[in-house]
């Protein structure tokens, strides 16, 4: 921490310390330094103090290895107390939304990670609109943030908006299934969707290639807007550009997850042990897990949050305001020159409190009246 503070302090010292004219002429170049080159360091320090938060949603049919992948990505066991439902229980189950929050710290940087799980998705015989609970949840989070943002006390706004949704596509199909298309079309304007090919260890390399091509074609065909990696600037170095190209070409990522460590070639690696060989999760030749992890955590986490705030949330907000103003103009039936800004409606809790207090006041007034009358009668 101190080493980061040092250049800033040194610059400040240099600027403030008195110098002789000769020295000043020599240090003319210093005059050009205003000092705001240190801003990234300041932001860095503040963010580290504040900590980051990230909400990740995982969706897909059951049995595609979602919890295992989350475990491998963040190396924490979020599902220790999970009980798998039996077949009878699954028949009557509807899609639920489960949230697990965990605080992870690494090298002084704190991350508050929330995983939103969607058990029961796509499991029933009739899966019509099975994504409705999920869209409702995402909208709810946007609505809550909208209210908080328009409210009076904005110091501690909790950002529960879903920043990224990992959608697991079954490797056994010939591309996207109707459920997949339905889900993605319902959510692509609300959340960043990153499609993944799950359980990729059951496919040989040629099959993976063909499946990826097919999925990319179908995503184009159905007009689904998945999360696009931002273009890298032209002045970045070649290595970075090469990495970026590889990333874009490997989408959708074919991933494998594992929560066991096995022994391979004398080393302990995270992987799966089969009679015919060992699949290593972190081996780039075996699957795209490393690419996914780098993208999600190491390079694009902030971009995902930005796109959620700037694009999806703004769309929601604009849509909401439009609806409210159109309703108001319909109700009031007059053209107001200034667009009416709707005051945030006090939420149910405070309204209830206000009503209760009103009632109390009224009751007390009645009692006073009664007492006055009694005294008069006496």
């Amino acid at each position: 921490m101190d080493s980061l503070a040092a250049p800033q302090d040194r610059l400040v010292e240099q600027l403030l310390s008195p110098r002789t004219q000769a020295q000043r002429r020599l240090k003319d170049i210093d005059k050009q330094y205003v000092g705001f080159a240190t801003l990234p360091n300041q932001v860095h320090r503040k963010s580290v103090k504040k900590g980051f938060d990230f909400t990740l949603m995982v969706a897909g049919e059951s049995g595609l290895g979602k919890s295992t992948l989350v475990h491998s990505l963040f190396l924490t066991d979020l599902y220790k107390e999970r009980k798998l439902l039996s077949a009878e229980e699954r028949i009557s189950q509807t899609v639920e939304i489960l949230k697990h929050t965990v605080d992870i710290e690494e090298k002084g940087v704190k991350l508050k990670l929330t995983i939103v799980d969607t058990p029961g998705f796509g499991d029933a015989v009739n899966n019509s609109e099975c994504w409705k609970p999920i869209t409702d949840y995402v909208d709810q989070q946007f609505e809550q943030y909208f209210r908080d943002e328009s409210g009076l006390n904005r110091k501690n706004i909790q950002d529960n908006r879903v920043h990224c949704c990992l959608y697991f596509i079954s490797p056994f199909g010939h591309g996207l299934r109707p459920v997949d298309v339905g889900f993605m079309k319902a959510l692509h304007e609300k959340v960043n969707i990153v499609p993944l090919i799950a359980k990729a260890d059951c496919l040989v390399p040629s099959e993976i290639r063909k499946l990826k091509e097919r999925i990319r074609e179908e995503i184009d065909k159905f007009g689904i807007h998945v999360y696009q990696f931002p273009e890298c600037d032209s002045d970045e170095d070649e290595d970075f550009k090469q990495q970026d190209r590889e990333l874009k070409e490997s989408a959708p990522f074919a991933v494998i997850g594992s929560n066991t460590v096995v022994e391979a070639k004398g080393q302990r690696v995270r992987g799966r042990l089969y009679p015919w060989g060992i699949v290593e999760v972190e081996n780039q030749a075996h699957c795209d897990f490393v690419k996914l992890r780098n993208m999600l955590i190491r390079t694009h986490m902030h971009d995902l949050k930005d796109v959620t705030c700037d694009v999806h949330y703004e769309n929601y907000r604009a849509h909401c305001i439009q609806q409210m103003t159109s309703k108001l103009t319909q109700d009031s039936r007059m053209e107001s020159p200034i667009p009416i800004l709707p005051l945030p409606t006090p939420d149910a809790e405070t309204e209830k409190l206000i009503r209760m207090k009103d009632e109390e006041l009224r009751r007390m007034q009645e009692m006073l009246q009664k007492m006055k009358q009694q005294m008069q009668d006496q």
Binding site: E61, S62, G63, L64, L84, L85, S86, A87, E88, R90, I91, D123, A124, V125, N126, N127, S128, C130, S170, P171, F172, G173, H174, G175, R177, P178, V179, G182, K199, D201, C202, L203, V204, P205, S206, E207, R209, K210, L211, K212, E213, R214, R272, L273, Y274, P275, W276, G277, I278, V279, E280, A285, H286
Partner: protein
Amino acid sequence: MDPLRQPPSPCSPRPSSPRTQSCEMLGYVGIEAVLDQLKIKAMKMGFEFNIMVVGQSGLGKSTMVNTLFKSKMWKSTLPGLGVPTPKTLQLQSVTHVIEEKGVKLKLTVTDTPGFGDQINNDKCWDPILGYINEQYERYLQEEILITRQRHIPDTRVHCCVYFVPPTGHCLRPLDIEFLQRLCQTVNVVPVIARADSLTIEEREAFRRRIQHNLRTHCIEVYPQKCFDEDINDRILNSKIRERIPFAVVGADREHLVNGRCVLGRKTKWGIIEVENMAHCEFPLLRDLLIRTHLQDLKDITHNIHYENYRVFRLNKSHVLPRGPGWVNLAPGPAPSPASPQATPRTMKVCRWTQDNSDDEC
């Protein structure tokens, strides 16, 4: 069980019923030569076998059929290249005649693309049940003709292989609904498809859970416990019932392993050999379907499932005269399988006779 024996007609008496006495032979007569005669006749006529494969798209059904019969029955669709899934369930049949060591087998494979692929899969099993009953109906119509053909062409489905996706958890509601309905009309053999995505421990746990699910929902898959004839059968079939559902992997490409050419899938971390018992249970499935139980599958279809259908149909249309063989069947949507624990007046359609109520079912 002699694999070359033809399916006996339903009303023929048991070969050695306990009523007739056995007497001693004074010399060699040559009765055993009847086996040779049967064999020659069978080879001339050839055999028929109809198999149906059911499961979601991409579970390797066409590849499995190709692997089972070691020939390109279907052009197996590679993942990523397949035709778009049809909007409704369509059944497609393909017939081939394959020959091995002079024995001809007319094999018909029925595929069911589009099963379980839609968003709303309610009643997606109806076309399949309809097809199976249609084949029974066809056979029945041929059988009740006045001048019947010598050999009625048999298009009835002898075996239905159901592909369970390898989720690793348990049977899905769709699987249970389908299996409950189909086990009453046809022999169903469930298999765990694409088992190369499960490790050995995961496979065993999954298998136990599926067996538990099947028991809970009273689903009787092939080989059914109530049709075991004698103690030997029971022992053999119990061993098979322990391992059902088999975890299978299908492949139709050959690779070189240790100098041998094997059918398998080549991945970056190893080659999965389809015929290696340590890798997957495909040999067990092949042995069950072809090498040991093929004739048994046909027998059960003919003697039990077809008979159930026939009795149900004839009762409904009142064609069968009310005689000593008539049973009182309450009209229902589908005939229930014969089970000793059923109510006393249900039909006892046993393996051999219909009037011998002393015989065990």
